[in-house]
């Protein structure tokens, strides 16, 4: 029983991080109808930047800020320079471009920072706590992960709901022509969307790496999980992405705990295929048909 409880708690932590990653895929998909397969690689790269700072004795907060800022800039750069020319072309071109970036960034990181696994120091304690006679494996670091994702998601939601900028972002994503006629600088909004996604992805990367091992390829699995979570949520709903992330977190935790950790990705694949075949619009879709 304690084991199940701890696996579920672990699932919540993982789920929060996957939700964050799914959110940034959704952010980009809403704006440009493109899945950014390079998102994981971008996040990995900024995590390495943070690691370099931390391992040179800088405080975690500074590394955190630098990584997020770098993610923001990288996202904007990717959209403006690489993705913009293929945004309107055949969708397969955009897929191939983001995949190319994925490979290139991963290889670049391996050249710059080495191929080995590194241990990212946990920013908060790694001890669980005790309730009555039950040991709970929810460490300080885990609580930090969950809170960080909640805060970030809340800020993002507030930005989209309550600010003028958020309204323009939504308008640009909703209908480019109309938004342009109403005076929204659509190009800038798209760049900003990708930049925000880059920032959010960096956060996810940092949270996953913190307190565990990471390497240039450590985000590959996360891309799969984040993508599955986003599809589960319907690819254009923020709430759906969060729920999808949690489902994936529980799945990973339970499969790894009760079956084998080597089968975790296949479990995600199974979920992905099931969702796409049974409910292509995601779990919360209304009856709008969607071509998948």
């Amino acid at each position: 029983m304690t084991r199940l409880l701890n696996l579920l708690l672990n699932g919540v932590t993982l789920g929060a991080v996957y939700a964050a990653f799914a959110l940034c895929l959704v952010l980009i998909f809403r704006a440009t109808r493109i899945i950014n397969f390079a998102q994981g690689a971008q996040a990995m790269f900024t995590t390495y930047l943070a690691y370099e700072l931390v391992s040179h004795g800088q405080p975690y907060v500074l590394a955190f800020v630098v990584a997020l800022a770098a993610g923001f800039l990288l996202g904007a750069f990717v959209e403006r320079v690489v993705v913009r020319p293929v945004e309107t072309g055949p969708e397969i071109n955009a897929v191939i471009v983001t995949l190319g970036l994925f490979v290139a960034i991963e290889a670049l990181a391996a050249i710059l920072f080495g191929n080995q696994f590194q241990s990212f120091p946990a920013p908060f304690g790694v001890d669980g706590f005790r309730v009555g006679s039950v040991d709970l494996a929810l460490t300080g670091n885990d609580r930090y992960r969950i809170v960080a994702v909640l805060v970030a998601a809340g800020l993002l939601l507030a930005l989209f709901r309550f600010t003028n900028l958020g309204l323009r972002l939504r308008a640009a994503a909703f209908g480019q022509e109309v938004a342009r006629l109403l005076g929204v600088r659509v190009g800038r909004m798209l760049t900003l969307g990708w930049a925000l996604a880059g920032l959010f992805g960096s956060l996810a990367g940092l949270l996953i790496a913190g307190g565990s091992l990471f390497s240039p390829s450590y985000m590959q699995g996360v891309v799969v999980f984040g993508f599955t979570a986003a599809v589960l949520g319907g690819l254009d709903s923020f709430g759906g992405a969060v729920v999808g992330g949690l489902v994936l977190g529980f799945t990973q935790s339970l499969v790894a705990g009760y079956v084998a950790s080597s089968l975790v990705t296949m479990a995600a694949l199974a979920i992905l295929i099931l969702v796409l075949l049974l409910r292509p619009g995601g779990l919360f879709s209304s009856s709008v048909a969607r071509r998948v």
Partner: protein, 402 residues
């Protein structure tokens, strides 16, 4: 090339204008022409292999295992419009099947081993293809990405059968005596001869398939689903068949791979392998078999070259091993931005543009010579637009989409 446009109603000169092999007697049959091409290519490869040192010969063997996989993928992506990042994983299926067969039944003829690998991979292809047939673009990419990341985990999970992290050692087929007497080559280069024979057989089969009803159906499905459906094509079936054929090719590649590398291990079938295959088809040009061969050659010979460049810049071994993937990624991005048609496609487009330019010039002169061919009532406008249709850059636009 397309002589039909220029052929005159008189018919006489048209026959003499047939270029290349088509002009030879008996070469009207596409299958025969392809067969002759493949045999010639194999003779060329054999002559080349005889002059190469063992290291180069082993590189040629590597080209041979890439060709079926790349050709299968280019057919799937270029002709049927489905993208797959899972072909590395499908190669793993073929490689492990071959490894298990060679381990459990050492006396099995190599052809049977390859057929076994093809069968198992095709079965996996049916399952994956059935799901993939209903997906497109980013969704398909995501699902097959999961396959590429997930399949190595299976090899670790089924440790007793598949050898876990260490993988399975593979004892490659030994060269028969007559082979060594005939070629004077060592048994190490045997795999290069064998591999190229297999690769060319795959290319032969694929090239005929593409020219058949099946290939036309695939292109129809890619270009316009609704029109294809109206013409009576079952979209789902067509897609599944394309995926299965492509998977079977990856199975051949995997079996060869296992024999050449002499190991089937999860570490060989990374996502980078799948993405290198994608790079090869994009460089070669989507849908072109010749492009697939060029892409495979580049994959094999470019990688060590780039690694050497990296080492020359003072990078460590691990660092310089990553120069090749870095270049692959950049090439993918740059090609999509600059020349989305790939090498073969771009050259073809240029040739087409030059042809049409020449055609238009010729037309202009004939129009000047014989100003009134049709009746004046039908008018030059109608004829003019019709001819502009063939001579205009719209021919190029069409090529872009294919």
């Amino acid at each position: 090339m397309s002589t039909a446009i220029t052929s005159t109603p008189a018919g006489g000169p048209a026959a003499t204008r047939e270029k290349g092999l088509k002009g030879l007697p008996g070469m009207r049959s596409t299958a025969l022409r392809h067969l002759l091409l493949m045999v010639l290519a194999y003779v060329g490869v054999v002559l080349l292999l005889k002059t190469l040192d063992p290291f180069r010969a082993s590189q040629m063997a590597s080209v041979a295992y890439f060709i079926p996989a790349v050709a299968g993928l280019t057919v799937l992506t270029g002709l049927n419009g489905q993208i797959s990042l899972g072909h590395g994983a499908l190669m793993a299926v073929g490689a492990y099947t071959a490894a298990v067969l060679l381990e459990r039944a050492p006396g099995l003829p190599f052809v049977v081993v390859v057929l076994g690998a093809v069968l198992v991979t095709a079965l996996v292809g049916v399952v994956v293809g059935a799901a993939a047939a209903r997906l497109h673009g980013p969704y398909l990419a995501g699902a097959t990405l999961a396959l590429a990341v997930g399949v190595p985990g299976l090899a670790i999970y089924f440790e007793d059968l598949l050898g876990g992290e260490q993988g399975l050692r593979v004892r490659p087929p030994q060269s028969p005596d007559w082979f060594e007497q005939l070629t004077g080559a060592t048994s190490r280069t045997y795999l290069a001869y064998l591999g190229w024979a297999l690769a060319l057989v795959v290319l032969f089969l694929l090239s005929n398939l593409l020219n058949s009803r099946v290939g036309r159906q695939w292109r129809a499905v890619r270009d316009n689903e609704v029109a294809a459906q109206l013409a009576g094509i079952d979209l789902g079936r067509s897609r599944v068949v394309a995926f299965v054929v492509s998977a079977a090719c990856a199975g051949v590649a995997g079996a060869l791979y296992a024999c050449v590398i002499r190991l089937a291990a999860p570490g060989s079938f990374t996502l980078v392998l799948s993405l290198s295959l994608l790079t090869a088809i994009v460089i070669g040009g989507l849908g072109s078999l010749l492009g697939a061969v060029i892409g495979s050659v580049l994959l094999v010979f470019l990688a060590p070259f780039l690694t050497d460049r990296g080492a020359a810049f003072g990078l460590s071994d691990i660092q310089s091993a990553n120069v090749a993937p870095l270049v692959y990624g950049l090439v993918l991005v740059l090609l999509m931005l600059i020349a989305p048609r790939g090498l073969v496609g771009t050259v073809r487009l240029k040739m087409l543009q030059r042809q049409t330019a020449g055609l238009r010039a010729a037309q202009r002169t004939t129009e000047l010579d014989t100003p009134a061919q049709g009746t004046p009532a039908q008018g030059t406008p109608a004829q003019g637009t019709g001819e502009q249709g063939t001579g205009h850059p719209s021919t190029g636009d069409h090529q872009v989409r294919s």
